[in-house]
């Protein structure tokens, strides 16, 4: 099972990086979202995997999974929504005001001797 998680994290990371390296704003935003999935799962999994052991105290429960990474990832999920929204409005602003959704600044001509 751990191998499945590890490979999923790897695939999500690779896809996220590939999308971030694209030239238009929209795929870059998608890329960062994919990366945040990968990072969230990574952080969550760093508490090790366990099934049927939610960190909710119950009578008779023998073990609980690590609650701390869960708490950290929970806020990370919400914050990443906020950050995605900010990046999206910036991308929208550049598209609407400049008709341009390229992420790279056009290469400037080399300065000659001053």
């Amino acid at each position: 099972m751990e191998l499945l998680i590890a490979s999923a994290v790897g695939v999500l990371t690779a896809a996220g990086i590939y999308m971030v390296l694209r030239l238009r704003t929209f795929p870059v935003i998608i890329g960062t979202s994919l990366l945040s999935y990968a990072v969230n799962v990574f952080l969550f999994a760093s508490g090790r995997l366990a099934m049927d052991a939610p960190p909710v105290l119950r009578d008779g429960a023998e073990r609980y999974t690590d609650p701390l990474p869960q708490a950290l990832v929970l806020t990370a999920i919400v914050i990443s929504f906020g950050m995605t929204a900010v990046v999206v409005i910036i991308a929208l602003g550049s598209w609407l005001s400049a008709d341009d959704d390229l992420v790279d600044r056009p290469a400037e001509p080399r300065e000659t001797a001053q």
């Binding site: 690779a14 508490g47 708490a71 995605t84 790279d104």
Partner: protein, 960 residues
Amino acid sequence: MSLFLIVLLPFLGALLPGLMIRAGRQACYTATLLVTATAAIGLLTHLPAVLRGETPTARLAWLPGLGLDVNLFLDPLGFMFAGLILGIGLLIIAYARHYLSRDDNMGEFFSYLLLFQGAMVGIVLSDNILLLLIFWELTSLSSFLLIGFWKHLPEGRQGARMALAVTGMGGLALIGGMLMLGGIVGSYDLSVILEQRDVVQASPLYVPALLLILLGCFTKSAQFPFHFWLPHAMAAPTPVSAYLHSATMVKAGLFLMARLWPVLAGTPEWTWLVASAGLVTMVLGAFIAIFKHDLKALLAFSTVSHLGLITFLLGTGTAFGAMAAVFHILNHASFKAALFMSAGIVDHEAHTRDMRRLGGLRRLMPITFAIATLAGLSMAGIPLLNGFLSKEMMLEEAAHTTLFGMPMLVTVVATLGALFSAAYSFRLIAHTFFGAERDDYPAHPHDPKPGMWLPPALLIIPVVVIGLFPALAEPFVKLVTGAVIGTAAELPDAHLKIWHGLTPALLMSAIAVVGGALLLSVFAPLSRIWEAAPRPEAKDIFDRLIAACVGLARPITRGLHDGAFTRYAAIMVLTVVAVGAHAWFSGTTGAEIRRPLLPVTPVAIAAWAMLIAATGFLVAAHRNRLAVLMLMGIIGLMVSVGFNHFSAPDLALTQISVEVVTIILLLLALNFLPNTTPNESGAARRTRDAIIAGAGGVAAAGLIWSILSTEFPIAPISDYHLANSYKGGGGDNVVNVILVDFRGFDTFGEIIVLGIAALVIYALTETLLSGKVRRKLLNRGHEEARAGDAHPLMMVVLTRVMMPVILMVGVYIFLRGHNSPGGGFVAGLVVAIAVVTQYMASGFAWAARRQRYPYHGIIGAGVLVAGLTGIGAWLVGQPFLTSAFGYFRIPPMEEFELATAMGFDLGVFLAVVGAVMLSLESFSRLGYRAGTETSDHAMDIDPSRDEELAPAAGGQEKGI
């Protein structure tokens, strides 16, 4: 007055001039003067204590872990400097009132001046060398603002930059030196360091520390070879020059050398470095000053020379030298400030400072003439003026000093310095005020109003009084000297007298004065030789040095940072992977205990396959943006299913609700963006990106695999949370208790960040909607045919019926959050979704009209509620966000729990609702056209679709 207040007053007062300038220049000036006067009076209240030999202190722990505390102390040395800074500061402010023209922004000027003043007072009162460093850097920065005050003058900007570059570099060196010094002693408190002379001087780090500290002092005090910035700083307005170069900025280096004298002085290294740098600077500065035609340039080089003189005196390492240095600091401050102000008056009235265009001003400006002549003669070292006394002490000290084993060397060089000094002083007086009156002055010169000549005139009083009755100054000078030398040496027995008998110093003094006068008589031919002689121009060297540094940095910067975002991203990924790989292959993790792996289930494989497939399709088909969003939905769903599968119900709930709002958000954005991504990158680029991405993916997978397959190397802290969740936080859901209790402060910060993000989105939308984008949006045609019913009947009915149900679910999730999966975050998202569905189904106008509370307010209320809950703990004497809980029973219901954490969670809930709604609403507003007709009835058929048919229909009607 508390020492804190004396230091703080100028900083606080720096706000005043900028505000008061709206009430007029006089108000601005009065406010500034009052601030400095208050601080000066505060300082004077400590005078009796200082004279009694006490040292007032004020201590405040700031960062004790770093040894950085706000410790201030006022010993005689600090008192003398603070008195100079504030006293001359008062005169400068009064002078600047009349000097600054109406075009100059007086508020800005005085604000900078007070900032600078505060930083200077901070330096001289600091008892902690780290604190001193902070003030030191502040003087560099604020003097940069002052020197470059006339931003329209290129000389001003360049001079300011040069001063900042030189003193800033020196400041960096000083930081290193001070840290070493503190490291040697084991304390950053000056009062401790000053008693550790033997420890410091025996340390192998003594020489490096000394070099670095001296680098800081020499750059600040313009000692050779760093003297060149000071003359270029003369591009500043004259009050700034008078202030910075007589009493303050350049004296900071001298102050520090005097302050650290007990620990650093007395070694051969100290004497070689400091005394010879001082001597060279003194002679060089004085020699160049003779040939400067600009009054301020002459004074600038003379300042360099006098700073060298004082440095030399400190450098000899004898108690008598220290006493002469202290005395000359006082004297130089008085006559040099008066001279700078006189030069400013001449410039102000005659509109030139060039001595070749001046001369004969003694009848036209008698008052200025008197002031400048007395100050100038004092600078030349003429008896009965204060400059004579300290200069003779310097010569006396020089006669007893041997450098590099040559007995007469110092004597000759010092006499030469004094001779040049006399020459330029005589020239300043002769070429400005004597000679024939001319008729080609750029403006007709006359004495200014008293407001302008009074400040320098006041400074002439000590020049003359101390010159006539040196015994008056003796107790104070000895007191300060005692503070400089500390316990390192005996206070010298010498007295301040005009007549010491026929001493070698008197002979040297006579040679200097006579020689100076003779030199002036042959000035014209000498000047021609000087003009013709090739000499290195410091500014050119400096500019070339800077250009070389820029030339070195530019290709690197351009190569890494060329404006291409994709390049930064690629560089960052590769760097992270490389650094990680290095750690992976070279680092050690300690004993690795393998962990039994969980068995693979068919369901898990199915979910995994869906996730991988969706990701693969997403990358393959990423040009079709709508398809990308759908695939993102699948990935998000699988991730939340995964969370649920691995015992994280809270995460699953949050992920799936965030997924919904994210997809809605991206759909709204896609409404405006192109639907497809053009194919721009070639095969080579795609291969390159794929390799980079692959490396990143392998690295992430490898890392998490190694984490997952081994046990924790050290025990996690989670057991504490599990054990105390119920006992301390009153909740069974440990994740929720961590969020609202254990790490409540984090959560508090996070909801604030979320709120700020939403406000940023709102503000950007507002900006977009106010510009040309608005017109573009209004004129935007629809590329594709729209559905006939913009608000489908089924959806409207369904969402309205569902609304209360979803809200109920939200409340339920919120209430159970403390003990079962749920809580403020999830509840907030669920409620936001309920509201968003109304917008989607019934239209923006319809929903917005029914929305009574602005979303900004909801965010603010959320943060406030969370904050107040946290503050509530203070009322019972507990730290911020300590929670309390109890069990209550209201008769018809079962016993239930109430916890203060619930109030905090309510704040989280409100902030999340507000932030999500404000973001989504802002996006929707882009599409909503204000003023266009929108139907109030949500279920109406879109009328615009029938527009094509309308003429025909109208015709029919007419026909009938």
